[in-house]
C-alpha cells in the first residue's frame, strides 16, 4: 500500500498507542483509535507490498507472504505452519487469507453451558452483532440476498461467481436435501466505495486468493482498515520486529523495543495493543515474562478441524479458476445425530496446482506411477472441506524451545493433539462430505486430514486466574497492555476466525476510548 504521504512520529515522542502487528486484529483498532484523534504507530515485522506488481499466480513465488522464521510443531497431530496459516507483512495474514467470513454461531459462544464441554465466551452474540454488521459493510462482504440460517442478515454485495466446485457442491447438497448457499465472502463482487478509503474494483475470478489478490477485490487490511487509519494520521512502520518492552515500577509499559534490519529502536508510548497473532503474541509475552500471572499464556492452543474430501468428476472442473470457496452450508453446526460437542461449517474448494499436488503427495500418500497418473487428473477434480470446532485443552500448548531463530528469540514450540471430540466430529464430517460428493457425481473419493488457523494461547475471560485478558482484551496484569488477535479466543468456534477478530478489534478500541457500543441493525 502507498505509505508516501503518511504522517510520521518521532521515537522520542510518547505516542498514545503502539500497535504491534497489522493483521486482522491490529488494523481495525488502529483505524478506530486514529479516527478518535489518538496518535498511533503500528510496528509490523513484515514488508510493505505493492499487490498489483508484486503478487503472482504461483505458490513458490509467494513464499515471502508467510511467516518464515521456524516454528517447531509437535504433539500427536502437529499443525503445519508457514503457508497454511501464518502471514507477515503490512496486512498480516489477510494478505493471503481465503476471505471466507461466516459469523460465529451464538450457540458456539456458549458451548460449555450447552454441552458441558469447551468454554463459554465472556460475551454474547448481541455484543458482537453491531460490530459484525459494521465490519461487513466496511470491508465489503458479498453474500446471498437471504441467508438461509439467519433471516435478519443482509450482506452489502451480491454473491461472487460460482466456480465448478461451487456448482458441484450445490448439486450434491440439493440431491440430498441439504441447504447450501452462496457463502459470505469478503471479496467485492461489484465496484465498491465506502468513505475514507479508495474505491475497489470487483473480483476477476483468478482463483489465487491465497497468493495475494492482484486488484484489491479481496479484503485485506492494506486495502481497508490500514488506509483508513493512515487517513486519520496513523503511522505504519514496516520491517519493524518487536522483541521487548520497557516498563516502569508499576509494571506499565513505557516503550516498545524493536529492530529495523540491524538497527535497534525504541518507541515511547502510553499504551500497547499486541496483535501479533496466536503464535507471536504468546511468544513475545513469554520471552518478556509479561502478563502471565495466571500461567495461562501459551495454553489452550487450538486449530480448527479442517478435513477435506476430494473427488474426480466426468467434466473438466479447472478448479484453479474462480473464487476458491464460494458455497457454504451451516446445516452441520448442530447435526442431529452428533456424538460430539459443537459442529462444523462446510465449504466448496478449488485449490491451485502446487498446493493441491502437495496435499495429494502428503495427505493421500501417493507416489510413483499412481502419483503421476493422479496429478494428470488435476483438471477434473474438486474438493469440499470443513471448518470444525476443536475443544480447548490445557495440554495443547505453546512454549519456548531451547533453539533460537534468526531473530535471536527462542523458537516457539507448539504441541497440538486432537482429542476424542475432534475425532468424532471428523468421522461425522467425512461421512457427510462423502455423501455430498457422491451425490454430486464424484468418483475416486479420498480424505485429506488437516487442521487450520492458530487459535488461543491468551484467552479472554472474567477470572484473572483462568484468563490472560478481560472480555475486551485488556491484560489483567499490565493495565496499559491490550491483546487483540486470534490468541484471545477462549474456544475455536466453528466459524473461520477473521471476521470475529475484526469485530473484537473494533470493540476493544471502543472500550479503550470509553465509548458505548453501536446498535445493531439486524436482530440477535
Amino acid at each position: 500500500m502507498n505509505l508516501d504521504r503518511m504522517r510520521r512520529y518521532a521515537e522520542t515522542e510518547t505516542v498514545d498507542v503502539v500497535v504491534i502487528g497489522t493483521g486482522a486484529g491490529g488494523a481495525p483498532l488502529l483505524a478506530r483509535l486514529a479516527a478518535a484523534g489518538l496518535t498511533v504507530v503500528a510496528l509490523e515485522a513484515g514488508a510493505n507490498r505493492d499487490p498489483a506488481t508484486e503478487f503472482v499466480p504461483d505458490e513458490a513465488m509467494s513464499a515471502d507472504l508467510y511467516w518464515m522464521n521456524e516454528r517447531v510443531s509437535g504433539g500427536k497431530t502437529p499443525e503445519a505452519f508457514g503457508a497454511n496459516n501464518s502471514g507477515v507483512g503490512v496486512g498480516g495474514s489477510t494478505l493471503h487469507w481465503g476471505a471466507f467470513v461466516p459469523r460465529a454461531d451464538a450457540r458456539d459462544l456458549r458451548l460449555k453451558t450447552e454441552t458441558g464441554k469447551g468454554e463459554d465466551w465472556p460475551l454474547s452474540f448481541s455484543d458482537l452483532l453491531p460490530y459484525y454488521e459494521e465490519v461487513e459493510r466496511f470491508i465489503g462482504v458479498s453474500g446471498p440476498a437471504n441467508y438461509p440460517w439467519d433471516a435478519d442478515r443482509r450482506y452489502p454485495l451480491p454473491p461472487v461467481k460460482r466456480n465448478a466446485p461451487a456448482q458441484a457442491m450445490i448439486a450434491g447438497c440439493e440431491a440430498l436435501g441439504v441447504k447450501a448457499s452462496d457463502g459470505p465472502v469478503a471479496v467485492v463482487s461489484e465496484p465498491y466505495a465506502v468513505g475514507g478509503i479508495p474505491a475497489r474494483v470487483p473480483c476477476r475470478n483468478c482463483g489465487y486468493c491465497h497468493q495475494g489478490c492482484r486488484n484489491g477485490a479481496k479484503t485485506s487490511m492494506d486495502v481497508t482498515y490500514l488506509p483508513l487509519g493512515l487517513g486519520h494520521g496513523a503511522e505504519i512502520r514496516p520491517n519493524s520486529f518487536v522483541h521487548g518492552f520497557e516498563r516502569d515500577r508499576q509494571g506499565r509499559i513505557t516503550a516498545v523495543l524493536y529492530r529495523q534490519g540491524e538497527v535497534e529502536k525504541r518507541q515511547r508510548c502510553a499504551a500497547v495493543f499486541l496483535c501479533a497473532g496466536a503464535v507471536e503474541t504468546p511468544r513475545l509475552l513469554l520471552v518478556n515474562d509479561l502478563a502471565n500471572s495466571s500461567g495461562q499464556v501459551g495454553r489452550n492452543y487450538t486449530a480448527h478441524v479442517a478435513t477435506q474430501v476430494w473427488g474426480t468428476f466426468d467434466k473438466p472442473m479447472r478448479m484453479n479458476k474462480g473464487y476458491p470457496s464460494a458455497i457454504i452450508t451451516e446445516d452441520m453446526v448442530r447435526p442431529k445425530d452428533a456424538d460430539f460437542a459443537g459442529g462444523y461449517l462446510v465449504q466448496s474448494l478449488g485449490v491451485v496446482l502446487q498446493t493441491w499436488s502437495d496435499q495429494v503427495a502428503r495427505g493421500r500418500g501417493l507416489w510413483g506411477r499412481d502419483l503421476v497418473r493422479y496429478l494428470d487428473r488435476y483438471n477434473w477434480t474438486a474438493g469440499i472441506g470443513i471448518n470444525g470446532e476443536s475443544l480447548p485443552s490445557e495440554e495443547n500448548r505453546l512454549t519456548l524451545s531451547d533453539e533460537k531463530d534468526a531473530t535471536g528469540l527462542p523458537k516457539p514450540l507448539i504441541r497440538y493433539s486432537e482429542g476424542e471430540n475432534e475425532a468424532r466430529l471428523k468421522r461425522h464430517a467425512v461421512a457427510f462430505m462423502r455423501q455430498v460428493w457422491e451425490a454430486a457425481g464424484a468418483s475416486d473419493i479420498w480424505v485429506l486430514e488437516r487442521t487450520a488457523h492458530t487459535i488461543g494461547t491468551c484467552r479472554m475471560g472474567t477470572d484473572p486466574d483462568r484468563a490472560v485478558v478481560d472480555p475486551f482484551g485488556r491484560s489483567f496484569d499490565t493495565p496499559n497492555l491490550w491483546i487483540c488477535d486470534n490468541s484471545v479466543f477462549p474456544s475455536s468456534l466453528a466459524a473461520n476466525p477473521a471476521l470475529t477478530i475484526m469485530a473484537l478489534s473494533l470493540r476493544a478500541a471502543d472500550r479503550f476510548l470509553d465509548r458505548a457500543a453501536p446498535t445493531a441493525v439486524g436482530q440477535a
Binding site: 498489483a52 506488481t53 503478487f55 503472482v56 499466480p57 504461483d58 513458490a60 513465488m61 513464499a63 508467510y66 518464515m68 522464521n69 521456524e70 516454528r71 517447531v72 510443531s73 509437535g74 502437529p78 503445519a80 505452519f81 508457514g82 503457508a83 501464518s86 461467481k161 465448478a164 456448482q167 458441484a168 474494483v201 473480483c203 476477476r204 475470478n205 483468478c206 482463483g207 489465487y208 492482484r214 486488484n215 484489491g216 467434466k315 473438466p316 472442473m317 479447472r318 484453479n320 479458476k321 474462480g322 491451485v352 496446482l353 502446487q354 499436488s357 502437495d358 495429494v360 503427495a361 507416489w367 510413483g368 502419483l371 503421476v372 496429478l375 494428470d376 488435476y378 483438471n379 504441541r415
Partner: protein
C-alpha cells in the same frame, strides 16, 4: 531460453511454448517459468548434500515421480539447491531435525537399509526393491536408524519421506513442461494487476476460456 522456444514442433513443445509465450502471464512469472524450464546441468555438483547422498536422492526422486520423457527434470539437483539456500518453509516437525539435516540423515539411512538388504547402496537396488523398501518406510516399519546418531528411526523416516514427496512434487508441478502437460491454466490469469487485471469469466463446470489449453476429450473450438 531460445532453445526451449525453438524446439521442433510436437504436441508437448507446442503446449509449453504456448504457455511460456502467452500474453496473459505476468512478466515476473514468465521470467521465473523460463528459469525453471532451463535444462538441468548434467554435471551438477551438490551444494548441501554429498555426492553419495545426491545419488540416493536421484534414485528416490525417480521412484516418487517417475519420468519417461527424454529430458527428465533433475528433481534431486533442484532439491539440493533448495536445501543449500535453506530458507525453510516456516516450520518443521518437532520429531525431525532441520530440513537439510533431515535430508542428509534420511538418505544415509536409506543407504544403510539397502546395505542390510545386500546392496551397496539405495541406488544399487532394483526399482522394484526400492519401491518395496519405500513402502516399509511409508508405513513407519523401516527400522535401522534407531538410536544411531545422524540417522532417522522408523517414525522419523516416515515423516521425512512425506516431506520429500511434498518438496519433490511441488518442484515437479511448478515446472512449466508439467503445467503444459496437465493443461494447467493458472498462470494465464492476467498480465497486469490493478484495475486492468483480466482474470477469468468462464469458471463453471466444463467451461473453457478460448486461451485455455484444450483437455483430452474436449473438441477443438
Amino acid at each position: 531460453m531460445q532453445d526451449i522456444l525453438n524446439r521442433p514442433a510436437d504436441a508437448s513443445s507446442n503446449a509449453l511454448r504456448a504457455l511460456l509465450t502467452s500474453p496473459r502471464i505476468p512478466e515476473r512469472l514468465r521470467a521465473e517459468l523460463l528459469r525453471r524450464a532451463a535444462p538441468d546441468d548434467p554435471a551438477y555438483e551438490p551444494r548441501a548434500l554429498s555426492d553419495a547422498q545426491l545419488d540416493a536422492l536421484r534414485a528416490l526422486a525417480s521412484r516418487i515421480l517417475p519420468q519417461d520423457g527424454d529430458e527428465p527434470i533433475d528433481l534431486a539437483a533442484r532439491l539440493d539447491a533448495m536445501m543449500a539456500e535453506a530458507t525453510g518453509n516456516g516450520w518443521r516437525y518437532e520429531a525431525l531435525p532441520s530440513d537439510p539435516d533431515a535430508y542428509r540423515y534420511g538418505l544415509d539411512t536409506l543407504d544403510d537399509l539397502a546395505k542390510a538388504l545386500g546392496a551397496s547402496r539405495f541406488a544399487g537396488l532394483s526399482g522394484g526393491e526400492q519401491d518395496e523398501l519405500l513402502r516399509r518406510v511409508q508405513a513407519g516399519e523401516a527400522r535401522g536408524g534407531e538410536g544411531r546418531p545422524r540417522r532417522l528411526d522408523a517414525a522419523q523416516l516416515a515423516l521425512w519421506f512425506e516431506e520429500v514427496r511434498s518438496d519433490a512434487v511441488r518442484l515437479f508441478v511448478a515446472h512449466p513442461a508439467i503445467m503444459a502437460r496437465l493443461g494447467y491454466s493458472g498462470p494465464l490469469d492476467g498480465h497486469e494487476g490493478g484495475p486492468a487485471f483480466a482474470g477469468f469469466d468462464a469458471v463453471g463446470i466444463g467451461e473453457r476460456e478460448s486461451f485455455e489449453p484444450l483437455l483430452p476429450g474436449e473438441g477443438a473450438p
